[in-house]
């Protein structure tokens, strides 16, 4: 009796949040599913949601399958390109971010605060402002080309659909998140472990390889996830820095279908498929962060 009363208090506290999540998180995903498995209103070219799972149609699924793997597939290359761009961009972010985070966590000494402020600053600058900065620099008469002209290199049309520009934009956009995760992970490594490695005669490189690197595996993985997940849903970076069909990614495809009458059902299918693929890494992330927060407390 008392136990029940005790629980009722906590249930009442959690209830508004739970109801909110049901109505505005779980139901919306069922709506996407109902549209993905729904039909098309031929007259208005608007999607018709089918709420009853027994009446689901595979119309949209077949269309998407044809786009992805059929004879005139245009979405297949987009998918492949997305994987390549995101892989390059996230590994590049790691290659740049790890040394910087490592330096700040281990060697910054009394200037740690200064380095951290500068490192965290992009986190507080709106993403669009940061992209706008590159749009300015990379214009044909912009500073990037002016700098190149000193070396006798003629002007490059950076914003005219260059894969390099898109990858640069992705790295620039998401690296602050990665660095922050890496820093937090590296900062937590007990310096005594590293000193022990030194005392036992390991050189700097081998101490790093044997101690620091294995201990930073977890932050590397979660940091990569935190950059890869949003990159896969990114369409704005690409649109601002290239806008060409030759560099478009899965995010561009979904966003484009969302605004096109008749294609919205396929957009729903694609976003559901993307969710399905990402569910495993997402669950891994949830479990990993749970474990580390329990270990920390």
């Amino acid at each position: 009796m008392r136990r029940q009363k005790k629980n009722a208090f906590w249930i009442a506290l959690a209830a508004p949040g739970i109801i909110w999540l049901i109505v505005l998180f779980i139901v919306p995903f069922y709506a996407v599913l109902a549209i993905a498995m729904g039909k098309l209103d031929q007259l208005f070219e608007s999607p018709v949601a089918v709420w009853n799972p027994f009446a689901w149609s595979s119309e949209n699924l077949i269309d998407v399958w044809r786009d992805l793997f059929g004879s005139a597939a245009f979405a297949g290359p987009i998918l492949l390109r997305t994987v390549v761009y995101v892989a390059i961009a996230s590994l590049l972010s790691l290659a740049i971010g790890y040394p910087a985070a490592y330096f700040v966590a281990r060697f910054a000494g009394r200037r740690k605060g200064l380095f951290l402020v500068l490192m965290v600053a992009p986190f507080w600058i709106s993403y669009m402002m940061r992209m706008l900065a590159w749009v300015d620099l990379l214009q044909t008469d912009g500073y990037a080309n002016k700098a190149l002209s000193w070396f006798g290199i003629s002007a490059v049309n950076w914003l005219g659909g260059k894969p390099v520009t898109v990858i640069l934009g992705l790295v620039y956009g998401y690296i602050p998140y990665l660095i922050l995760v890496l820093y937090a992970g590296l900062d937590r490594i007990d310096p005594a472990l590293i000193e022990a490695g030194r005392d036992l005669g390991l050189g700097r490189v081998r101490t790093f390889m044997r101690i620091t690197l294995p201990l930073s595996r977890q932050p590397i993985l979660t940091g990569l996830l935190i950059t890869v997940l949003p990159m896969l849903g990114d369409y704005y970076t690409n649109n601002l820095l290239s806008g060409a069909a030759s560099t478009s990614m899965i995010g561009n495809l979904i966003q484009g279908q969302l605004g096109t009458p008749g294609l919205e059902g396929q957009g729903a299918v694609l976003s559901m498929l993307l969710l399905l693929v990402l569910l495993i890494p997402m669950i891994y992330y949830v479990i990993a962060t749970n474990r580390s927060s329990q270990a920390a407390s």
């Binding site: 249930i11 709506a31 000494g109 997940l229 601002l240 669950i283």
Partner: protein, 315 residues
């Protein structure tokens, strides 16, 4: 929220090898020498990450129409130009107001919702509680586009009485941001343990009094940090508001910058808009940092910890 670990070793303070043995090779062998290469690399990264933004801010003060060539200083794009300045262009003007409106509304709704959720879920042990906690964390990591698509469809197909616009934007943003307070407050609850609550109960407080007089003050820093994160998160948000806005009166700054530049009508007025949003975020960050330091003034904790907390790391 880990206890601050010992500060990193200060290489400079370490005695170097005996001066006579300080040949160049000896220097290289010294395991405590300062890693100049790494430091240089870090500085290069910081320059690459911050100088473009400084240049973009600079161009908001450009006299001419170019975003690429400096033509002299003016405040034309902020308020002097009677047509195209942020103050006088109705669209840009409305965008600033809409961003502030969305940030305030979202913070006011999401923070109490998330804090109550965290308290309830943390103490109510059971299958239902852990399931919804999982859903909450899932909403934290799901790519924003996938979430935005779901929001777009639910408001255009199911809850059609909620038209695209401010209401839809706020509902979407609250759902997207409610995980900040929910996660950060739970992390704080775990570190606090139950002893404070039990002590309050032993001293005769009922549950509601224990919550209001003991737990809420102890959770103050976490609640404050999450409010700062939600507020600045909304200023920065793009995907959800892009998909859920319907016309110029409910389009915030991020979307205006994107759509105008993407539409080929860019100009320094957009840089001015971006600079305004940057200043807004920095003000929030400074308030957040000072406020967090003040709220945790009795505790063992460093400025560095406050800095990473209000940036959302290790909440």
């Amino acid at each position: 929220m880990t206890a601050p670990t010992a500060p990193a070793e200060t290489p400079a303070a370490q005695p170097a090898a005996a001066p006579t043995a300080r040949t160049r090779r000896g220097f290289r062998r010294n395991p405590w020498r300062h890693p100049w290469f790494l430091e240089g690399f870090t500085w290069l990264y910081l320059i690459w990450s911050l100088v473009p933004i400084l240049i973009a801010v600079l161009f908001s003060f450009n006299k001419g129409k170019s975003q690429a060539t400096w033509q002299g200083f003016s405040l034309r794009w902020y308020y002097k130009d009677p047509v195209n300045s942020v103050l006088h262009d109705p669209q840009l003007h409305a965008a600033v107001i809409q961003t502030v409106r969305l940030s305030v509304l979202t913070t006011v709704i999401a923070v109490p919702l998330g804090v109550a959720f965290a308290l309830g879920i943390n103490r109510w042990r059971g299958y239902t509680a852990s399931t919804f906690n999982f859903v909450m964390i899932l909403s934290f990591v799901i790519p924003e586009l996938i979430f935005g698509v779901a929001m777009f469809f639910v408001f255009t197909v199911l809850f059609t009485s909620v038209h695209l616009g401010t209401t839809a934007e706020v509902l979407g943003l609250v759902t997207w941001n409610v995980s900040w307070p929910a996660i950060i407050v739970q992390a704080r609850l775990v570190t606090l343990g139950r002893q404070y609550e039990e002590a309050a109960a032993d001293l005769g407080a009922n549950r509601w009094q224990a919550m209001r007089r003991v737990m809420l003050p102890l959770l103050g820093p976490a609640i404050f940090a999450s409010a700062v994160l939600v507020f600045s998160g909304v200023i920065d948000d793009f995907v959800i508001v892009d998909l859920l806005s319907s016309n110029a009166s409910n389009t915030p700054m991020s979307v205006i910058i994107y759509s105008t530049q993407h539409g080929g009508n860019g100009g320094p007025a957009l840089n001015a808009l971006g600079t305004i949003s940057l200043v807004m975020s920095f003000i929030i960050a400074i308030i957040g940092y000072l406020g967090y330091r003040w709220l945790t003034r009795g505790e063992r904790g460093s400025g560095i910890e406050a800095l990473t907390t209000i940036a959302g790391s290790e909440g």
